[in-house]
């Protein structure tokens, strides 16, 4: 099946195949980002801005609005992988561990 992703409830959720999967209000550790001057941003995701599926693979990506709680800089992230569709047959999704360090794409 194709993977259907969208933001939901005014940016509260990343929905994957009609299942609420990734919520706002978590802290994400971001490396190689242009959000602020912190080497690793400690980023509070306050709202989902955009969602997408990586063309070459099953990765679900999102851009979040929020703030680095280390330095206070506000902004919108680049594309961040929030999980993967692990079962293309039934659309099953597995989210990444937001507490590990993530690379921001673009």
């Amino acid at each position: 099946m194709t993977t259907d992703v969208h933001q939901l409830d005014d940016g509260a959720w990343v929905s994957v195949n009609d299942s609420r999967e990734v919520n706002v209000s978590d802290l994400w550790l971001l490396a190689e980002h242009d959000l602020c001057g912190c080497e690793v941003a400690d980023f509070l995701a306050e709202g989902v801005v955009e969602v997408g599926v990586e063309p070459a693979g099953p990765a679900v990506q999102s851009r979040f609005a929020g703030r680095c709680i280390r330095c206070g800089a506000e902004g919108v992230t680049g594309w961040l992988t929030v999980g993967r569709v692990v079962d293309p047959a039934d659309g099953g999704f597995r989210g990444v561990d937001h507490e590990s360090i993530h690379l921001v794409d673009g």
Binding site: D4, H6, L8, D9, D10, G11, A12, W13, S15, N17, D18, S19, R20, N23, V24, S25, D26, L27, D42, L44, E46, G47, V49, R67, I69, G72, E74
Partner: protein, 587 residues
């Protein structure tokens, strides 16, 4: 390209959602196809049903729209009875028990833990008593707000309740206005105090005189959400009361045609106002959406506005006040807007016994009983209920507003209502306000959606996170000096990411510094306005005190923040069937 939500709306939206909702309710939660969940939950909002957050699947928040906050005689009892029977969840709230009503900042009512299967019975009872959830959420005309004592107010110049009621009856269900790009919030004010809070609405009618006739000036484009706060701007239009529906319909149609349907984050009319400015807004309204010549703005009464104007004259409608007919209204303080059903039902009895039976909800999450003859005041006020829901509360109890928070809401970052209750109690016990300050507003909003209207409070609190000893904890940004009045002002955000257990200490230090440094009789708002953010930040000194905060952990990662025993998402009983019994998992 239209957003996904617009695509869902183009398939089914408005009144027709109801037949599907009723079918799902009859067949049960499992009847909603998994792959259609998001579309249906988005549509159900139009009928006032908002799917609760993760861990609470199959339960809904139900919003009842009460225009201008008016609950006609008998309706308060109906709301209480519905909450008692249907708004009982699988866990208790330690401050409020089970079964309660939330009075909202838009003079609406929210009930929680509503099961889909119960919706037909609830609708039947509501509608049999003149109440409705229609368009309480979703992309259309929301509950119309106004001065909560419109029609009875000694300060009223143009009777506003019938204007608001007429707008409600005209536009709720009007198919030309049921599918807008985004929510549409309207305020009608008839008094000279500014209690309608028009400045923070998409469309506001405010009293104004033109050529000796009283009518309304029109303002457009206010709103607080998403760090994009705007005050509504005058569009140089005056309208006589009989043409209010024409202008309101014209503006709503303008929004329908020109609002952004591609990007929901850019959809509210405040962004169109940013782009067009008030002159173009007026021109397009005139040329395309009304068929009579719009008079230029009349002389408004904003100079007289005292409501939340920072001078302490008129902070709310709490207390005993005379009406324009010689009877009295009694405004009760409802801390953070949440009232247990026993209190609701008792108040309904008292309203009938001592008054007309009518009650009204305010934009400060409080409730008013109206039409009390003078001789009934003392016997009414003798009842024990008024000790808990006081007409003469302590300023910290009186000034507290909080949104729903992580208890039920997907967007919120922090726990709010129970925390604000604890804050208010601690502040009352530990902090002395200057003797001349009777109103001091502290608003706690769990996120940037700003449902608690933090930007127009003396102290604004907004959900955040920080780390304490390396561990993530719930935190709040602190803003100061917001309010309405002739010259409204948004709060300055001066101290960010304060751990939630250090906020009461920060407020205590701020109040102490304010009292020490203020000029004689200087209001808090003037005090803030006269100082830059750096100076103000130095006056806010967060610190731990003996205040204890049980909600410092990530409350969003529980299925219910106050669940006893295992509160993890895996321990959730949801989703349940119509009897509240857990349904088998798909896994």
């Amino acid at each position: 390209m239209p957003s996904k939500v617009e695509n869902w709306k183009s398939e089914v939206y408005g009144a027709e959602i109801r037949e599907h909702l009723m079918r799902f309710a009859e067949e049960g939660w499992d009847a909603i196809p998994d792959e259609e969940h998001d579309a249906w939950f988005e549509r159900f909002k139009w009928w006032g049903l908002y799917h609760q957050r993760s861990g609470q699947e199959s339960f809904f928040m139900m919003r009842i729209g009460t225009p201008n906050g008016v609950l006609k005689p008998g309706q308060l009892r109906v709301v209480g009875e519905i909450a008692d029977e249907y708004a009982r969840g699988p866990a208790q709230n330690p401050e409020f028990g089970n079964a309660y009503c939330d009075w909202t900042t838009r003079q609406s009512i929210q009930l929680h833990w509503i099961k889909l299967e119960d919706v037909p019975e609830v609708f039947e009872k509501l509608e049999a008593n003149g109440l409705s959830t229609q368009q309480a959420c979703g992309d259309s005309w929301r509950n119309i707000v106004g001065c909560p004592v419109a029609g009875k107010d000694t300060h009223e110049h143009i009777e506003a309740w019938s204007v608001a009621e007429n707008l409600n009856e005209t536009f709720k269900g009007d198919e030309d206005h049921t599918n807008l790009p985004r929510k549409w919030k309207v305020s009608v004010t008839g008094c000279d105090q500014g209690c309608g809070q028009g400045d923070i609405n998409d469309l506001a009618f405010e009293p104004a005189e033109k050529d000796g006739e009283l009518g309304f000036n029109v303002r457009v484009g206010g709103g607080l959400a998403r760090k994009e706060a705007r005050f509504a701007r005058g569009i140089d239009v005056w309208v006589p009361r009989e043409q209010v529906p024409d202008v309101a319909g014209g503006m709503s149609a303008l929004f329908r045609e020109y609002g952004d349907r591609d990007n929901r984050f850019n959809a509210r009319i405040k962004f169109l106002m940013d782009e067009w400015g008030p002159e173009k807004m007026r021109r397009v309204l005139q040329e395309e959406f009304v068929d009579f010549e719009l008079p230029r703005a009349g002389e408004d009464m904003r100079e007289q506005y005292t409501y939340n104007a920072g001078d302490g004259q008129h902070g709310d409608h709490v207390g005993v006040h005379e009406q324009n007919d010689g009877n009295y209204y009694v405004g009760l303080n409802v801390l953070v807007g949440r009232m247990g059903v026993d209190g609701v039902l008792e108040l309904a009895d008292l309203a009938e016994e001592y008054g007309s039976g009518e009650a009204r909800l305010t934009q400060r999450q409080n409730i008013i009983v109206t039409d009390i003859p003078e001789e009934n005041l003392d016997p009414l006020l003798d009842h024990d209920l008024f000790e808990h829901y006081s007409p003469d509360p302590h300023p910290f109890m009186r000034g507290s507003i909080a949104c729903t928070g992580t208890e039920f809401c997907s967007l919120s970052i922090v726990e709010t209502k129970n925390r604000q209750v604890r804050y208010a109690r601690w502040l009352k016990e530990n902090v002395d306000l200057p003797a001349d300050i009777e109103d001091f507003h502290i608003h706690l909003s769990g996120c940037t959606a700003s449902c608690a209207q933090p930007q127009i409070a003396d102290i604004s609190l907004r959900g955040m996170k920080t780390r304490k000893d390396g561990e993530p904890v719930e935190a709040l940004d602190i803003g100061l000096g917001g309010g309405l009045g002739e010259n409204p002002r948004f709060a300055d955000w001066v101290e960010m990411r304060v751990a939630a257990d250090e906020v009461p200490g920060a407020i205590a230090n701020l109040v102490e510094n304010f009292e020490a440094e203020r000029a004689e009789d200087e209001s808090f708002r003037d005090f803030v306005e006269a100082r830059d953010e750096e100076t103000l930040a130095a006056l806010v000194e967060p610190e731990e005190t003996d205040y204890d905060d049980p909600y410092m952990h990530n409350t969003k990662q529980t299925w219910y923040p106050y669940a006893e025993g295992d509160d993890s998402l895996d321990a959730s009983p949801a989703p349940t069937d119509g009897s509240g019994d857990p349904l088998p998992s798909d896994d």
